[in-house]
């Protein structure tokens, strides 16, 4: 505007506007730089904050136990003493002087134990028969000095004069008769056991030995959580936990003293999380995930093995379905289909990825589960017939009239294949039904059961099929991208040198795209590991530890979804669920990192070829 009116000042003006423009540009530059930097760094900060939060929730689980120095109490506290069990007359046995008399929670059985360790289990309903079981709680050369119930009265701890501590369970045998069984020894104390106190509402106990050492144990761990000199006077006395298990009281004739204990999560350790544990009332040590009960005295069982295995099992079967389908589909669309059909089909397959997984899970649970149970044999027949179809076709194709062979690009090929597949499917259905009636008494799944293979309706096969379908488009699209990035010069050159299409795939395309295919598999794996809704809905969420195709599973994600809403904040259960979240993250992180490394390698390969 100004330039038109007066050219000379316009020079100045232009200079100043240029200067202004430059400064504005610098300013904008700086603004955008700051904005982008802050956005980028806030993502990193948010990620770090999430880790920090997860870590801070989990770390208290592994905090070692701490105990204060003993403090003498000026005013004695009343301690709850266990009521003495009154011994019925007929329980008086000759040559047997019971020192310890304990009764189980149903009040049906009585356990009597004498000083030398001899014990007798009495059934009150059949008392006239005398002991139903006699055994020795010590090895007869030493004296039994302590025998207590742990909380919940499901297991016993015995201590003897040699410092040996043992755990015992009352387990039913085949006839439903209770028997006392030896479970495990705890690590030996240096001196004779003087007194044992059980924690309230959980399975820990404290032991004082005659050398004046105090040890804290938890029933599932043989090693003590804490041990050290008790610094009490040597007069014999009794230990008691106060409610909340944060104060341990020692009382004897000369007074009382207490320790303050910080021991919030004794039931969690690497051993209980990852190894077999023999829980109260179980016949043998097992990996168990069974949390939460209305009664506080029931031990929470937190083994991460069934969950980890469940996640891997589901992902494994899903990949077994998804990877061959996706890779072959990518090869087919990339190398055999002509252009318009090729991009349309690949878009269609990628559209499948947009299908909400909750719908897939719902369909799997409601429709596929009963259908699969009924037509399991048909599915197996289908897998058997498929190679036959392939071999048959490859034999037949060159013998067809030339006019039929030369019809590529019209979609005719595709339709023909689809029709053939459908025909084989119908044949498999018919065959499966016929076989089932003639060979397997009308039901293949019950026949499986009679062969000792457990078949559940909601099983890993179902999850594999449903989740395979959900993961397949992702694997497919990465594979397809990789294969179409291969320089045309290579395939054309090979073709010009007389290679057949299969030779081109085998010698050129597959070797070049192997890192890409592996990256796709890794991405699919991390997707399958993180998948929640399909697993939640299509399995019975059974925390079992095996790889049986026909049994269910419980994954890390399903456990989080089901249990996080009910877990009391800051309880062991709550913190273990956060550990589960971290574990889940470690899995997906590893898979994703591997995928990324492979992709970088692929990029280098392609750059080398292009250069």
């Amino acid at each position: 505007m100004t330039r038109q009116n007066s050219p000379i000042p316009a020079q100045d003006n232009r200079l100043t506007t240029n200067k202004q423009r430059a400064s504005r540009r610098r300013w904008l530059d700086r603004l955008w730089y700051l904005l982008i930097t802050s956005a980028g760094s806030s993502v990193i900060v948010a990620l770090l904050a999430i880790f920090f939060y997860l870590g801070s929730e989990v770390l208290p689980l592994f905090k070692p136990v701490s105990i204060s120095t003993p403090q003498a109490l000026a005013e004695p506290l009343p301690v709850a003493t266990t009521p003495r069990v009154v011994l019925p007359d007929h329980a008086l046995l000759p040559e047997f002087e019971p020192v310890f008399v304990l009764s189980e929670p149903q009040q049906r059985y009585l356990l009597l134990a004498a000083r030398h360790g001899e014990a007798c289990l009495l059934d009150r309903t059949r008392a006239e028969q005398g002991c139903v079981q006699r055994l020795s709680l010590t090895d007869r050369t030493v004296d039994l000095t302590a025998l207590v119930w742990l909380a919940g009265q499901r297991s016993l701890i015995s201590g003897d004069s040699s410092g040996q501590l043992k755990q015992w369970f009352l387990l039913p045998d085949q006839q439903g008769q209770l028997r006392l069984s030896w479970v495990k020894p705890f690590s030996r104390r240096a001196a004779a056991i003087q007194t044992i106190a059980a924690e309230q509402g959980r399975s820990g106990f404290a032991v004082l030995d005659s050398a004046g050492n105090l040890s804290l144990f938890y029933a599932n761990l043989t090693k003590p959580l804490w041990q050290g000199p008790a610094a009490v006077d040597t007069q014999p006395g009794e230990l008691h936990f106060l409610p909340g298990n944060q104060r341990l009281l020692f009382s004897n004739a000369s007074g009382q003293q207490q320790w303050l204990i910080d021991n919030r999560h004794p039931e969690i350790s690497w051993r209980t999380l990852w190894q077999q544990v023999w829980y109260e009332g179980w016949q043998q040590p097992e990996y168990v995930w069974q949390t939460g009960s209305a009664s506080a005295a029931v031990q929470g069982k937190y083994s991460l093995v069934p969950l980890t295995l469940g996640t891997l099992k589901a992902a494994f079967y899903a990949m077994l379905v998804a990877v061959p389908l996706a890779v072959l589909a990518a090869l087919y669309t990339c190398c055999f289909l002509p252009e318009p059909l090729r991009s349309r089909l690949s878009q269609l397959i990628e559209l499948l990825a947009l299908f909400p997984t909750v719908i897939i899970g719902f369909l799997a649970a409601i429709w596929l589960a009963p259908a699969l149970e009924q037509h399991l044999l048909a599915l197996l027949c289908f897998f058997g017939l498929l190679p036959l179809l392939v071999f048959g076709l490859s034999w037949l194709w060159p013998r067809l009239p030339l006019s039929l062979q030369k019809l590529p690009g019209s979609g005719w090929e595709l339709l023909l294949l689809l029709a053939l597949l459908a025909a084989v499917g119908l044949l498999a259905l018919y065959l499966g039904h016929a076989l089932q009636l003639s060979l397997f008494d009308g039901s293949f799944r019950f026949w499986l059961n009679s062969q000792g293979i457990d078949y559940q309706q909601r099983n890993a096969l179902l999850v594999g099929l449903a989740m395979g379908l959900a993961v397949m488009p992702l694997v497919y699209s990465v594979c397809f991208d990789v294969m179409s990035q291969i320089p045309r010069s290579l395939t054309l050159g090979a073709s010009a040198l007389g290679a057949t299409p299969w030779q081109i795939i085998q010698r050129v395309i597959l070797p070049l795209s192997v890192p890409g295919i592996l990256a796709a598999v890794m991405l699919g794996l991390s997707r399958a590991i993180g998948e929640t809704m399909i697993i939640l809905m299509a399995t019975g969420n059974t925390p079992i530890t095996n790889f049986n195709l026909f049994e269910g599973l419980r994954s890390l994600t399903a456990a989080l979804t089901i249990e996080l809403p009910e877990a009391a904040v800051d309880s062991s259960h709550y913190r273990v669920l956060f550990l589960v979240a971290i574990l889940l993250f470690v899995f997906t992180f590893t898979a994703n990192t591997l995928a990324d490394l492979l992709r970088q390698r692929l990029r280098r390969n392609f750059q080398r070829l292009d250069g």
């Binding site: 009963p370 309706q457 079992i544 249990e563």
Partner: protein
Amino acid sequence: MAVFQIISRGLIRCGLLLASVACLAGDDLSEPAAPAAAPLSGTLSSAGSDTLHNMMMIWRRHFVARHPQLNLQIQSSGSATAAVALSEGTASLGPMSRLMIPAELARFERRFGYLPTAVPVALDMLAIYVHQDNPLNSISMAQLEGIYAKNGWCAATPPILNWQQLGLSGVWQQRPVVAYGRNQASGTYTFFRQQVLCDGDFRSQVQQLPGAAAVVRAVSQSINAIGYSGVGQQIAGVKWLAVRPTTEDAAVLPLAEHAASGAYPLARMLYIYLNKAPDKALPAAEREFLRFVLSTEGQALLATEGMVPVPSSVLASIRQELEL
């Protein structure tokens, strides 16, 4: 400022007084009449039991018809969520299919300094469902333990793995028992664990499904399945088993008269938990909703879901306690 507070507090008290006078007037009748007060508005949220979900929806429909301005949100992911939501203050009604456990009560008390109030709103029964083609008609509590429990803490029953062990013959001899149950957040799970397992552990093969309806649907789809769920979930394709409390007792079906008489061993009270300070009245919306739920009309609606009204003596005492 202080003066204003005092005045406003006074005004609120007056309001409460008026409301309670209105209540008293209503109470003169043999049953509480429909509230004469102006239609309520605002938002009331409920979080908790899945068993009570259908019932809450029915109560909401009838209640909101009277108070169209009121927005009642219902979230039902399991009884355990009620305790958390009440303690965190994210919901004012906590439907639960069991009583709160000491840990939950302690948590609430730490937060507010008093205990939550449990209002019994319905009598429900757990039914044992099997496929309709299953010839079995009754089952004992000990047999249920054998099917579901890992450790026989109630009756030391040896594990039951196929239908032959339950006395079935023919093709059923070979068929394994497939056990379905609820997920851990549900009060149904906890109640079943207490009553049938004596707080023991479930076998890990017991399939846990999220949702009361999902269990029954799974049973209807699988011929050799057994499952426990609320009695109101009956659909085509399943049938109830009568339950024998002990092996000698007669088998009892989950019918209303057996729940009220106490003959059916798997009957339980369902509750709505409230956050009610001891010296304060409930907020109007909550009070009116509970008044409706406990009224003859609200209790009569229970029959649509196969549930049983709370005995009138219990209702009377709860009305008195809540000053409805």
